[in-house]
């Protein structure tokens, strides 16, 4: 049990337990705030996998962007005054059974297939420079398409969310 293993288990527990809270709590605000801890735990796992740029991007985009958007959505679509930010669930038992089967078979499959995977021998280096070079050479087309997608999403979201003036 080295330091790496201990840190992995800390981050894995943070991730999985807060994901449990996201899925099982009845209070929407609790779900949103535990999603924050899930994202942080995933960022920690990225650091352990020596993906430093991705960990920072995860915190910036997920925590700083998507989570704030989700919180705005929660606040704007509930009557906050009535302090009734609860929500119901449906079909819990069949979903639980199916999801447990899926999780068990996936975990068993991963365990039996990759049980003795070789540990990486390559040194840990900063990935930012290499990622930037890859985005500007081999992944040029997907990069440009992604920028167009973001522009379209920006305009589309702004137009869709705009309050229309009595257009019936």
């Amino acid at each position: 049990m080295t330091l790496f293993d201990g840190v992995f288990y800390v981050f894995a527990l943070i991730t999985v337990i807060s994901a449990f809270v996201v899925v099982f709590t009845r209070n929407i605000m609790y779900a949103a705030f535990s999603l924050l801890f899930t994202f942080f735990g995933v960022a920690g796992l990225y650091v352990l996998l020596s993906a430093d740029f991705l960990a920072v991007a995860q915190i910036l985009i997920y925590v700083g962007g998507i989570l704030v958007l989700l919180l705005f959505g929660v606040m704007l679509t509930n009557k906050v005054v009535s302090v009734d930010l609860k929500t119901g669930t449906l079909q819990t038992v069949p979903a639980l059974v199916i999801v447990a089967v899926v999780a068990g078979s996936l975990a068993g499959l991963f365990y039996s297939t990759w049980k003795n995977a070789p540990t990486p021998t390559t040194d840990i280096v900063s990935t930012t420079r290499t990622l930037g070079e890859m985005l500007m050479t081999g992944y040029m087309l997907p990069f440009e398409v992604a920028s167009v997608v973001l522009l379209v999403a920006l305009i589309g979201a702004a137009i869709t969310a705009r309050r229309t003036r009595n257009v019936s």
């Binding site: 992995f8 899930t38 989700l70 995977a117 990622l131 992604a146």
Partner: protein, 112 residues
């Protein structure tokens, strides 16, 4: 399954540990998508599933000889998740203005 072997395996973190964490996260996300009534909580389930996929991509990128193609794919997943969250929340806000609810059971028509 030999339990002694399993416990020694547990103490030595490698590829399969990350994959199993991502499998758990994926299943929890699917559970959230399937069972929740509130549309925003369904979105949160989708984010969990995307994060699980990202962990898989980065783990294989690390344990496949530090091949960074997986991390580039993860970057694109994050970009698309941001776009998807923005669009989906805009749609949910419109639904709320029109139907005064975000319960996806009650929103089954495109118009009133």
């Amino acid at each position: 399954m030999d339990f002694n072997e399993f416990f020694t395996w547990l103490q030595h973190v490698q590829l399969a540990h990350f994959l199993i964490v991502s499998a758990l996260l994926f299943s929890l996300g699917i559970y959230g998508i399937v069972t929740r009534k509130n549309a925003i909580l369904v979105l949160m389930g989708i984010e969990l599933v995307l994060n699980a996929a990202n962990i898989n991509l980065v783990a294989f990128s690390r344990y496949g000889g530090m091949n960074l193609d997986g991390q580039v794919a993860a970057v694109f997943v994050i970009i698309l998740a941001a776009a998807e969250a923005a669009i989906a929340l805009a749609i949910i806000l419109n639904i709320y203005h029109r139907f005064q609810t975000v319960n996806i059971d009650e929103v089954s028509a495109l118009k009133e």
